[in-house]
Symmetry: C2
């Protein structure tokens, strides 16, 4: 059984991961947190201690680490005897952290696709650009690497797998809809690292339609849905990690991702983008300072973590799936609702971080108990969805379903009595 966790990153998501791992440290063992800025790790440790999140007395330590340095990362994995690494640092780190895991035998979990700092919105297949080139090596070495195990990608992939497994014989379309109907009360802020946030939207929008890659511009295509709890919401066709793996792993002709934006966000984004302030290419000031405009925008925007204390409202993220079952057309929406203020009260982070940070800990628990210890590189839809969703149900991320029969909790058949479920039930 694998245990001892090394968390890489110290932002809002890492804060959630640390709390949730602490709440399951009877299964997960020692908890280590490493980041370039060790003071941010210390703050997370302090928060975990203040909220008494450790389920039982145990190791909880902060470390300074430049995770682009593979040798340093390997040394830290060995020093901490971590068998599971949860990478929730910058998206630029994936390849070096994965390398360190492969060479030390640790399991690897991340929540977002690798990005090259110099490239924006690369041409699909995105996973194929970086992560999947290491599939054979993971298989050979017996390394468990679970890619994109946050909420989206992550839980929404499990929803898709569940739909394919239990609700449909044939799926025609999967529309993943991500809405944050919360309010942070600031003039403008991004809910996670502005650099990563904006990079999602400055390139072309790729979606999988009619079984082929389709190209659009950002904010070119929109839809409005009447969603549970959050009501009528307009969302925009957006490129997103999970479209690539789902289109490769499921036989579904239309897979699209839709993200909710208010008019104010779109206006600010449009101004900054048109002016060139979201560019990742350095500019030179008249005084001779060379700087990347996007990094300056990041520097003036509120720290996403600072929004949490006053954040109110809810998020709604789910999969709208259409297809047929037993020859009858059907439509289901499998989704989760999170509440910013409740999440903050529990772990000191808002719902955007919470939805991204809880699932990788559930994945770590399932690796620790063996249920998801695949010993190869996988995306979430390649793993059995029920243990994951069932565990999340007990960890603060319950799933619901809305279809012709109404809107109700998503329930599962009785599960095998594995450790993970016992642990989860114990909490």
């Amino acid at each position: 059984m694998k245990k001892n966790i090394l968390i890489i990153g110290a932002g809002g998501v890492a804060q959630v991961v640390a709390h949730k791992a602490a709440q399951a440290n009877d299964v997960l063992g020692d908890i280590h947190i490493a980041s370039r800025t060790v003071s941010k790790c210390h703050a997370i440790v302090q928060s975990v201690l203040e909220k008494r999140s450790l389920k039982m007395p145990g190791v909880l330590q902060a470390h300074q680490l430049d995770a682009l340095d593979v040798e340093a990362t390997k040394a830290l994995i060995e020093k901490t005897r971590a068998r599971i690494v949860i990478n929730v640092g910058s998206a630029f780190l994936n390849m070096s952290v994965l390398r360190a895991c492969m060479e030390t035998g640790a399991a690897y979990i991340d929540t977002a696709i690798h990005e090259d700092p110099a490239k924006i919105c690369e041409t699909p297949p995105w996973y194929g650009n970086y992560e999947w080139t290491h599939r054979a090596e993971c298989e050979r070495r017996g390394i468990t690497a679970i890619l994109g195990a946050g909420f989206d990608p992550g839980v929404v992939n499990a929803y898709a797998a569940l739909a394919a497994e239990s609700y449909f014989d044939r799926i025609d379309s999967i529309d993943i809809i991500d809405v944050n109907a919360g309010s942070h009360g600031r003039y403008f802020a991004t809910n996670f690292d502005p650099e990563i946030n904006f990079r999602e939207f400055t390139g072309k929008v790729w979606s999988w339609q009619d079984s082929q890659w389709t190209e659009n511009k950002m904010f070119e295509v929109k839809r409005t849905d009447d969603l549970p709890v959050v009501g009528s919401q307009t969302t925009y066709l957006t490129g997103h990690d999970e479209i690539h793996s789902l289109s490769a792993n499921l036989d579904v002709p239309d897979i699209r991702f839709w993200m909710g934006f208010g008019e104010h966000y779109i206006n600010v984004f449009t101004v900054l983008n048109n002016l060139g302030l979201l560019s990742e290419k350095p500019v030179m000031t008249a005084e001779g300072v060379e700087v990347v405009p996007l990094k300056v925008v990041k520097a003036v925007l509120p720290d996403p973590a600072s929004l949490a204390p006053t954040y109110t409202g809810k998020t709604c993220i789910g999969d709208l799936v259409k297809g047929t079952k037993d020859g009858v057309e059907r439509e289901v929406f499998i989704y989760n609702i999170c509440d910013h203020a409740e999440n903050y009260a529990e772990v000191g982070s808002q719902a955007i971080s919470y939805t991204a940070g809880v699932p990788p800990v559930a994945a770590a628990i399932l690796i620790a108990t063996g249920e998801w210890d695949a010993k190869r590189m996988v995306n979430v839809e390649e793993l059995p969805p029920q243990p994951f969703l069932s565990l999340l149900d007990t960890m603060g991320l319950p799933s619901r379903i809305r279809d012709a029969d109404g809107d109700r909790e998503l329930t599962f058949d009785p599960l095998p009595q594995g450790n993970a479920i016992k642990v989860a039930a114990g909490r």
Copy 2:
């Protein structure tokens, strides 16, 4: 008779100054252009030669100069034997260039108030903060220093003086209205140095109302006027240099400045300002680069000089003056119309630069001929307006008047036959 001109600065306005000075080099003598970036001076020299702007064969030279370095500036004044310095460089240079003039006996002309790079929109009296503290020294040394001799401030001050001298016994209000109804065809650009442009609007708006300083926020107060040629235009109450000197030099209870902005400009400005991207205070990026956000915005925006070739449309700048003459209430609008494309064809700059750059050359000619060689520090409204406006009439900036009697050219009584007028008429 003073001659030989040293132009400090090499932006769009300096380009106009160089061309116009060249067109009058029989009166003005040698022409020297100095800037931190000497290649920009060379480009201006090249433009003057290409357009054959020199009236007669003469000296036209580029120099490298950091005009914050008083000793270097003094040395250049002495080396070039310049007796008139036209400072159209950054607004941060005024105090050092004035110091160099005072210590070498050269006449000084500028077009905008001094600014401290670290302060934005200082509390009035603005001229009182810097320039006017040197009045006594100029008087003692017999130095001619003409402050704010562009269009606004500058020509609009002469319009006010003319109104007081010729059209009114009592003036109740002067509303200076500045509208650029042209189009540069870009997503967004400022018409002069973005740093100086934005700094005008990021602080409080000061106006002179009921004979006292009144404070407003930017874009808080607006008006719409049906203006000659450019039609119905909305303008916003803005703080501006000339309000201070006019309120000190004329007995007028209400003196306001109104600048035209389109909704798009206001939106972009509002976004950048609210995000903190127009701040003059340095920020630190996550990578440890310290940089002033406003300077990064400047770096990504189009170079104002690059807009000129495709700029179309017209500007309208004037003084709407209300008061009484011979006991009867009257209202006059004294104004100028400029055409971007015509200005570009003549001197390679658009109308914003043209309106700012022609007047200081007219002032230099009037110093050279003695008519404005005041041998003390003055603002434009303290000098006789007729020679200035009459000369500008022949230099591409004709004045018009609109009142109860209609809209017509502004004509003057026959002028004394000074050199300046002969020169002007000769062109």
